[in-house]
């Protein structure tokens, strides 16, 4: 389908059209928008980790002094509510932001560095991860983002680094504790080289030793380097020797910077970006082009994005990808013209969103594993996945029919512009009820693709 560059920019590189926002006209506008977005305040801010830790402390203090009385129950209830609201803000932010490409990149990196909330405490602190570890580095270097991620308490907890001790460290000996390989393995397998990369079990183990000492002050407090947990001596990872005594936090950072600029990481990440933004089987030349920019700039991300956007394959054959449920929900809210103003106040929106995403098969903060959500179109458009999308489209269609007097045909052309297929135009025109007309737009292939 031949569609305008502006439409590709809005749909492939953003969350779709919003009636009150002007879509980027093309490549230059997309890239220029990133700089503006980096300097703009984050829409719908959330509480940081430090404040969350303080509230956890207050809760603990209340339990110690007053037990599990009504004040304790009220505090805990409020914390649960805030956890849900903040998890929802992640998607709301994507929906209302005028900087679609920037938000898509944030989402890409947040998925690359997947975290999860497996219990109430983790769910309470998890929303702080993206604003603290991802956003500040989206326009920086990959090495710095990787370092921030590996030092963020939410990640250190999620991948069990907090319970890894050097087997010969003083704390390890005293407490009879040893290594936990989880974070080290995922850094190599998922975050940098990729599973096909040139590393062995011995590299995993040596990196796990190099990372010993990385921990968190009191549960979900600040990052802290515990020298007494660090394995003594040097470690050899990917053929290079790191560390030495006395152990310092920088030793692992040196490795992370090397791994970030590694040519295999460049290839892995170029392929991941091309797959995420263009096609499940991306143009090999596009991948090489991005990888070259990564190597040349040692993972300077704006240079990498430019390489993606300037390549002709980035603009060819749009709609090869499926919008994941979070993207579908964001695009739906945009088509409905939802603004940040609409989302202030009651938590009801958040509750509805959390339920909708669960039903659509992408529950917030509950990815299938540390490798994040699947990319393949076939993973999402299954009979059960499509059924969930049809139910969602039906509910929103009924809501729109009640709340707005727009003609569904008008809604179709506003939401999709020149991406609207004749089949969809025809089906919407033939819908017996207005609600079905709206629902058909939201259920259409072009609204579910990008």
């Amino acid at each position: 389908m031949a569609v305008s560059k502006s439409t590709v920019a809005a749909i492939r590189f953003g969350y779709g059209f919003h009636p009150e926002q002007t879509p980027p006209s093309g490549a230059d506008a997309l890239l220029a928008g990133l700089t503006v977005a980096q300097d703009a305040p984050m829409p719908l801010p959330v509480e940081g980790l430090t404040d969350r830790r303080a509230r956890l402390d207050d809760l603990i203090a209340e339990r110690r002094s007053g037990g599990k009385g009504s004040k304790f129950q009220e505090m805990r209830k409020q914390m649960r509510r805030d956890a849900m609201r903040d998890a929802a803000q992640v998607v709301f932010r994507r929906a209302v932001s005028p900087h679609g490409f920037y938000e898509r990149l944030v989402a890409f990196w947040a998925d690359h560095f997947t975290i999860a909330g497996r219990n109430a405490g983790q769910l309470f602190v998890a929303p702080a991860f993206e604003p603290e570890a991802i956003r500040p580095h989206v326009m920086g270097t990959f090495g710095n983002m990787l370092s921030a991620v590996v030092q963020h308490p939410v990640m250190l907890n999620y991948l069990d680094q907090v319970s890894s001790f050097g087997p010969n460290s003083s704390a390890g000996q005293r407490r009879g504790k040893g290594l936990n390989e989880n974070l080290a393995r995922e850094v190599l397998e998922l975050h940098t080289l990729g599973v096909g990369g040139p590393y062995s079990q011995s590299d995993v183990r040596e990196l796990a030793e190099l990372l010993t000492g990385y921990g968190v002050h009191r549960g979900f407090g600040k990052f802290r380097f515990f020298e007494q947990r660090a394995e003594p001596g040097t470690e050899k990872v990917l053929g290079k020797t790191y560390g030495g005594d006395p152990a310092r936090a920088d030793h692992a950072l040196e490795f992370l910077q090397d791994a970030a600029a590694h040519e295999v990481t460049a290839r892995h990440m170029a392929s991941k970006l091309a797959i995420h933004f263009t096609a499940d089987q991306p143009d090999p030349d596009l991948v090489s082009h991005i990888a070259a920019a990564w190597r040349r700039s040692a993972g300077n991300l704006p240079t990498v994005y430019e390489a993606l956007i300037e390549h002709p394959a980035a603009w060819r054959m749009p709609f090869a990808k499926i919008r994941q449920p979070t993207g579908l929900v964001a695009a739906t809210m945009r088509a409905m013209g939802v603004t940040a103003q609409d989302l202030r106040g009651p938590i009801a929106h958040g509750v509805r969103l959390v339920r909708a995403l669960r039903d659509l098969g992408q529950p917030l903060l509950q990815p299938p594993g540390p490798d994040g959500w699947p990319e393949a179109a076939e993973a999402w458009i299954t009979p059960q996945g499509l059924a969930a999308r049809l139910s969602f489209a039906g509910k929103i269609g009924q809501l729109l029919a009640k709340r707005s007097d727009t003609d569904p045909r008008r809604f179709a052309s506003d939401a999709l512009r020149d991406a609207l297929r004749p089949e969809t135009r025809f089906a919407v025109g033939g819908a017996p009820d207005r609600w079905e007309g709206f629902a058909l737009v939201l259920a259409s292939p072009e609204f579910n693709r990008r």
Partner: protein, 387 residues
């Protein structure tokens, strides 16, 4: 675009009984036989040594100072050598009835990288290469098996749950549905949707699957649990389906395994008990196998958990299995017995047992199983896991 229907023509179509694949009433022809197979994928790497503990092995205690149990400390004795973790206590009646068994010290051919994601793809793909390379078609072994079953149709095999199982993906048509789906499509809605999806094969195919299944399901589960997945599976197997698969996660017990194992154990236990009760008389003809991407380290790690390993255990259940027994060749746990001085040494390919289950339940030929379902597997003599 090729759509030339006018609005008027569309309305005409909508009012006629034009034949569309979506409108053809689903006819349940006689399915291939009465035997049934359920495959449960345990995601995250179930700790075979923790679930079926070799308490009779003199090396076990030293490897697992806090995790090793004995019948005196809560382990459920199975055969004087192995004991079942106490979180699975509700399965004891199945064991006693010969409807629950295990195969120990097994794994796929995948070695050394110990990646969940490669390991799971590999487990579901069923290939033979130790580096995790998938077979060229990148399809699932259960799908390849289905294509060998005479009379198999799209509703013979069902992937249950939102999880898109590689295990059942491939050329043979299969069904897929989640107990949490709610969808009822009136005929005119189906027609509108098939027009909407004209020209998009991915959406068209998914719609056909959804339409077929929306007729067959009543009620809707609020969420996917071992119980709701199993109840739905039982309903399908009591109908025209003979093969079903679903996955249960949560087995990646790196930390405080004592607690971490509780939830996945409960899910699996409830799933098995629900299958038995839901299948009623059909349970007699059912074999369930539960498999995982790898076992976990023989030694417990620094945080009272276990890391990614190699050899592990598979679970067998159902009236069709010859349970009450732990199958497999035990490699021992001495330092020189371990794989890379780290993991339980796999003494058999778990694909061999899956192949025998397919042979027993659906009459598949050994040569076909060894060539196309599990390329490179050596089925050897009948291990006798099925009655």
């Amino acid at each position: 675009m090729n759509l030339s229907l006018s609005r008027r023509a569309f309305l005409g179509t909508a009012c006629s009984a034009a034949a569309s694949p979506l409108l053809t009433p689903v006819v349940y022809a006689s399915a291939p036989g009465e035997n049934r197979l359920v495959v449960i994928i345990l995601r995250g790497g179930m700790d075979g040594l923790g679930v079926v503990q070799p308490y009779g092995d003199p090396g076990f205690r030293a490897l697992r100072p806090t995790l090793a149990k004995t019948p005196g400390t809560g382990l459920l004795d199975l055969d004087g050598f192995f004991g079942l973790h106490q979180e699975f206590a509700d399965l004891s009646p199945l064991w006693r009835a010969g409807e629950l068994g295990f195969v120990h010290a097994v794994s796929t051919p995948y070695r050394d990288k110990r990646s969940h994601f490669d390991g799971q793809d590999f487990l579901e793909n069923g290939g033979a290469s130790s580096d995790g390379q998938l077979t060229p078609a990148r399809d699932g072994w259960l799908n390849r098996a289905l294509s060998l079953i005479p009379g198999a149709r799209a509703d013979t095999a069902m992937a249950v749950g939102q999880d898109n199982l590689l295990l059942l993906s491939g050329d043979a048509a299969t069904g897929a549905w989640s107990p949490t789906n709610e969808l009822t499509l009136a005929e005119d809605e189906r027609r509108l949707l098939s027009l909407l999806y004209a020209g998009d094969p991915l959406f068209t195919q998914a719609l056909e699957g959804a339409a077929m299944l929306s007729d067959r399901t009543e009620g809707r589960a609020n969420r996917e649990t071992g119980m709701t997945l199993a109840q739905f599976t039982a309903d399908q197997l009591n109908g025209p389906s003979r093969i079903a698969a679903f996955s249960l996660g949560g087995w990646d017990t790196h930390k405080t395994q004592k607690n971490a194992l509780r939830r996945p154990a409960k899910q699996l236990t409830e799933a098995l008990l629900t299958l038995k009760s839901g299948l009623g008389r059909n349970w007699e003809r059912t074999a369930v196998i539960a498999i995982t991407e790898f076992g976990r380290t023989a030694r417990e790690n620094g945080s009272a958990g276990t890391d990614h390993g190699t050899g592990g255990a598979m679970l067998l259940a159902g009236g069709a299995v010859r349970g009450g027994k732990v199958f497999g060749e035990w490699p021992g746990l001495g330092e020189s017995d371990l794989y890379q001085n780290r993991d339980l040494l796999p003494t058999a390919d778990l694909r061999r047992f899956a192949a025998w289950a397919l042979a027993a339940q659906f009459g598949l030929r050994g040569s076909d199983l060894e060539r196309s379902v599990f390329p490179g597997v050596d089925m050897g003599g009948d291990p006798g896991i099925l009655a």
